[in-house]
Amino acid sequence: MKKTELFEPGLTERLSREREKDWRKNLRREISAQKRLTIPRHKMPEQPPAQRIRNFLEVNLGYSLEMAKEEAQRCLDCGNPGCVAGCPVAIDIPTFIKYIEAGELDKALDKIRETNGLPAICGRVCPQEVQCEKNCNLVKAGKEPVAIGHLERFVADYLSLRSELNIEPGCVNSSRGKIAVVGSGPSGLTVAADLARLGYQVTVFEALHVPGGVLAYGIPEFRLPREILHSEINFIRSLGVEIKTNFIVGKTASPSDLREAGYSAFFLGTGAGLPGFMNIPGENLLGVYSANEYLTRVNLMKAFRFPDFDTPAPAARKVAVIGGGNVAMDAVRTALRLGAAEAVIYYRRSRAEMPARVEEIRHAEEEGVVFNFLTVPVRFLGDEKGRLRGMVLQRLTLGEPDASGRPRPVPVPGSEFEVEVDLAVVAIGQSPNPLLVKQVDGLKLGRWGNVEVDSETMASSLPGVYAGGDAVRGGATVILAMGDGRRAAKAIDKFLRKC
């Protein structure tokens, strides 16, 4: 419980106060714990694999109201909810689930929104299996955990059409100070929403023409339909937040221009947009793409609807994707949907070390993606026109753990072999976007160009400048970015009250 306590003092008391309310007690009595333990976890309804690899519609179809209520009944409403401790933004999970069981969906959503401004998104993309659901007490009882992510998504979707919001819209009071948020990814949107609710005037500056950060350009529609993203962003706008797209801070205007324009505090949520390459021969051949380029073409620019939309995506029959994270899974499944006959993952460690969400790995397998573990490309091969025709791979074994605690892959001498491919997507990770942060005098950066911050306040080395999300952590997760945003918002509020 310690970590969450640090993040929010008094959390334990608040949780138990909610739990002791009469309606909760009554609900607990209605169905016995024994009976609850017999209800099996509800599977998420999905599009069948053969159908979904031919479209870009969402794979997961969502629970019905009945399924959601039954799934909510599985939650024992225990006194020591591990789930909350596993949630980086400490959502009061038992309370929202019990509201679902009681049929009070509005209250369930309000409860989530108290600490999470993007529930429809988190319900879809969070790695629940290593966070809330991992700590569910049902696991200790030898059962599958409550499907917390599916329930979060259900509540958000079910009420997405609700016009009236129970949360008071931010009453913007310009005398409280203007705040510039750079980047409209989950960290920036979270800071913006929290500060707008406190009455600050917030402007979010986004370099691209669409807000959302990775949610807009990286994560494919078959995992996160864009209407969902748009309605979450509209919610944030309704709080009084202004979002300026096509505005690159450091180019369109410098931070000092913004200071002159009256912005008194800054949040840098500029993400980890710099794609990593392997620096091996042949990497600039036609047909070798960064995952960022491949996914941006398809998701942001809608190349899957080419030529109705103008941006093309590369056509290919044999596709190789290098990497084992969510980005790699998204790229390889995108390739299948664009018509690849063969889509193969090459990952340098083994299955157990793959950082992708388990659901993504399972979906990819069902869709026919082939996995090659302990292999790494050492060279790309081109034809006389500079087009990719194949690659040379090398086998690896796992050695001693490295700095990340994962076993270090060691090359097997003489294990090189060749495969034929006409499209290779490099998805080996991104590092912090250097465009702005390298330009700011006095901003302390870490080894990988990440902004150095105080982990509690997210304050950088410059007074009034805060940072969070992937700009600080390198490629991390949506929910961690949001957690950073919440902490930064609190600290910015404190900072501005003082000055």
Binding site: A207, L208, H209, Y217, T245, N246, F247, I248, K251, T252, A253, S254, D257, G273, L274, P275, F277, N279, E283, N284, L286, Y289, S290, N292, E293, T296, R297, M301, K302, F306, P307, D308, F309, D310, T311, P312, P314, A315, K385, G386, R387, N433, P434, L435
Partner: protein, 279 residues
């Protein structure tokens, strides 16, 4: 959304757009570009900033009508809106005291080099401007450029690939006429960049070329714009677009520019059909 103040045809296939973009107008520097999104289904394409007017809050873009996006741009009327313009992007060109500078511009590069000529001139440099075109009918902004240069020369070629001889003669002639000439900056079609670099390489005359690779975001996020210069990979949108012409891996550059040739044709056919059916 950015309002179009003016759209005019300069020469048969080159257009001039004046667009409202106050923030860009107040921060643009010579050699920078913007990403333009014509309409909600459009691509993001890079266009050099050919001029700007801080007080009016407008920027000037000059482009050759080539593919789907530029064709869409050419069709816009005064008062229409562009979906978006983002920038200014890329590193500004160096403006210091070089002494004598030769600027070689072809197609959109005549306009693209104009602000650089103006600012170099203001810094006290002597500016020789060589305009390369198919014929005199393809030269535009001559008066405007003459005002900020010391010499205005022309080189005509029937098409991109013919008679590099003339160009070579002119450049070598210039060098013997102006022996202090120490720097060349080139902007225009890829073949011009390459040809001039090959000519000046022979006499060791420093040459900066404005590369124009395919781009997607223009902010350093995707790597579509990778170019190899002196054996090292750079992202042209953030590390360039200006590079040492003697270090560029031209073969790779030409081949990467053709990555989507067949799709580009398809998209153009699609657009033409759509326009026809609207008529």
């Amino acid at each position: 959304m950015n309002r179009i103040i003016l759209n005019e045809r300069l020469v048969p296939n080159i257009f001039h757009l004046v667009v409202e973009a106050p923030e860009i107008a107040s921060s643009a520097r010579p050699g920078q570009f913007v990403m333009v999104i014509p309409d909600e289904k459009g691509e993001r394409i890079p266009l050099n900033v050919a001029d700007w007017d801080k007080s009016k809050g407008t920027i000037d873009l000059v482009f050759m009508n080539l593919g789907v996006s530029t064709r869409k741009l050419a069709g816009f009327k005064t008062g229409d809106f562009l979906e978006g313009v983002a920038g200014p992007l890329g590193r500004p060109a160096e403006v210091v005291d070089f002494g004598q500078v030769l600027l070689v511009g072809g197609c959109y590069g005549l306009a693209g080099l104009y602000p650089l000529a103006r600012e170099l001139k203001e810094r006290g440099n002597q500016i020789l401007f060589l305009a390369e075109a198919r014929s005199r009918a393809y030269i535009y902004w001559e008066n405007r450029i003459r005002k900020v240069t010391d010499e205005f020369l022309t080189a005509f070629r029937a098409d991109c690939f013919s008679s590099d001889k003339d160009l070579e003669e002119i450049i070598l002639g210039l060098k013997s006429w102006k022996p202090q000439l120490s720097r060349v900056v080139v902007m225009g079609c890829s073949y011009l960049l390459f040809t001039v670099s090959e000519i000046t390489r022979k006499i060791g005359l420093k040459t900066r070329v404005n590369l124009n690779p395919l781009m997607v975001d223009g902010t350093g996020m995707c790597g579509a714009c990778r170019v190899t210069v002196h054996g090292k990979t750079y992202f042209a949108c953030v590390d360039g677009p200006e590079f040492d012409g003697h270090g560029v891996d031209w073969q790779e550059y030409f081949s990467r520019r053709k990555a989507f040739l067949s799709q580009e044709e398809l998209a153009l056919v699609h657009l033409v059909k759509k326009l026809d059916s609207q008529e």
